[in-house]
């Protein structure tokens, strides 16, 4: 074909410079806006004006992308300066920050604890937790932190799940009132769940994160302060 009728090669859009940082940020934005399921390598790449395969220079698996996202959020959590105050205030603040991060990034609750977190920020988070306890026997420290972390993870996960359910039932209340509601009343009417019925029909009491956290801290306190 003659030059005259042959089209020029498509002017390549200057490939925007990529970086792990930009990729992770794009993925987090996507997850925040459209949920974790919407995070596909294709969409993340598209958000950066790149082909999907380009990402594989920076990651070798989608799981790695998720790991990076989680560590990025850990970076939002861990305070810049070591917390003052006693061990209790330190652990409580850290727990609250974790919860707030999960409220900003709901997908974080889904990923939390689902894979070993060895990124620099996750390590810093652990470091902060451990140092908060000062000079307590290592074995004890690990178990106390583990217990508090377990509570935080579970409570955050439950709260996010609840929040999602409420939002969904709020969006199409029609459907809720026509399916879930009647189902529940019918189940409770069977009389097989009297205690559940009592709780559900009462005022809507949600478990309170801070209150439960205080109880857990009460529970571990003796091991930290060395009381019998």
């Amino acid at each position: 074909m003659l030059v005259w009728e042959r089209p020029e090669p498509p002017s390549r859009p200057t490939p925007s410079p990529l970086s792990r940082e930009r990729i992770v940020r794009a993925a987090i934005d996507l997850a925040d806006r459209e949920g974790l399921d919407a995070v596909s390598l294709r969409k993340v790449a598209a958000a950066l004006d790149a082909g999907p395969m380009r990402l594989y220079g920076y990651l070798s698996t989608k799981e790695e992308l998720l790991d990076l996202m989680v560590d990025e959020v850990y970076g939002e959590i861990v305070p810049s300066e070591p917390p003052g105050g006693d061990w209790r205030a330190a652990l409580r603040d850290l727990a609250r920050l974790t919860r707030q991060a999960a409220l900003r990034h709901e997908w974080f609750a889904d990923l939390l604890g689902g894979r070993p977190n060895l990124g620099p920020n996750a390590l810093a988070y652990l470091e902060t937790s451990l140092t908060a306890l000062g000079d307590v026997p290592v074995a004890t420290v690990m178990r106390v932190v583990g217990t508090v972390n377990a509570y935080v993870m579970g409570a955050v996960r439950l709260e996010i799940t609840e929040r999602r359910a409420e939002r969904a039932s709020g969006l199409d209340e029609r459907e809720w009132q026509s399916t879930v509601g009647p189902y529940l009343t019918r189940m409770l009417a069977t009389g097989r769940y009297p205690a559940v019925a009592r709780v559900v029909t009462g005022d809507d009491v949600q478990p309170d994160f801070d209150e439960g956290l205080d109880w857990v801290l009460d529970g571990v306190a003796p091991r930290v302060t060395g009381a019998p």
Copy 2:
């Protein structure tokens, strides 16, 4: 085409009678053996000698299948007869049963708390928890149970994740010793995580489920027994 050369219609294998029960059981078997990621509607259907679309008579979504699987496991947890003993023993036994179920079905830990559980067995589980506390103000009951449940969920999830990591690093120890190990020692050598280093280099202390559970129960005890 003449009858003589026309093949008979392929003798349809008598369609095995299906049921939600059988479907869920097949899905659980698959998840137990090959992990949750291996659970696809196609594979589950194939295990039952059925086409994928056949399942949609019994479910309308894959999520519903997962919900059914979770409720089935709740069925393994909730004891047949209401537990005797005091509230503390009751909650502790329930927590232990939950953990054991998760050890049998590791995928259970991934699903636990990720969606609202309203199945009959999940309700029975909640009912058992609530009645264990006897006649304590409803608001308190809900929060105490919520707190204990949060711990159980988190601890189980963390334990399963750890177990998986250990198994993976055991299977190809070569890879672990050549990547994760060196990475960790290098990170710890930076001196930025002294407390973590102290814990890691010490004897391998795992958080103990029962011990943490006891602490949490200690923490909530005053709200149950009415102590100040």
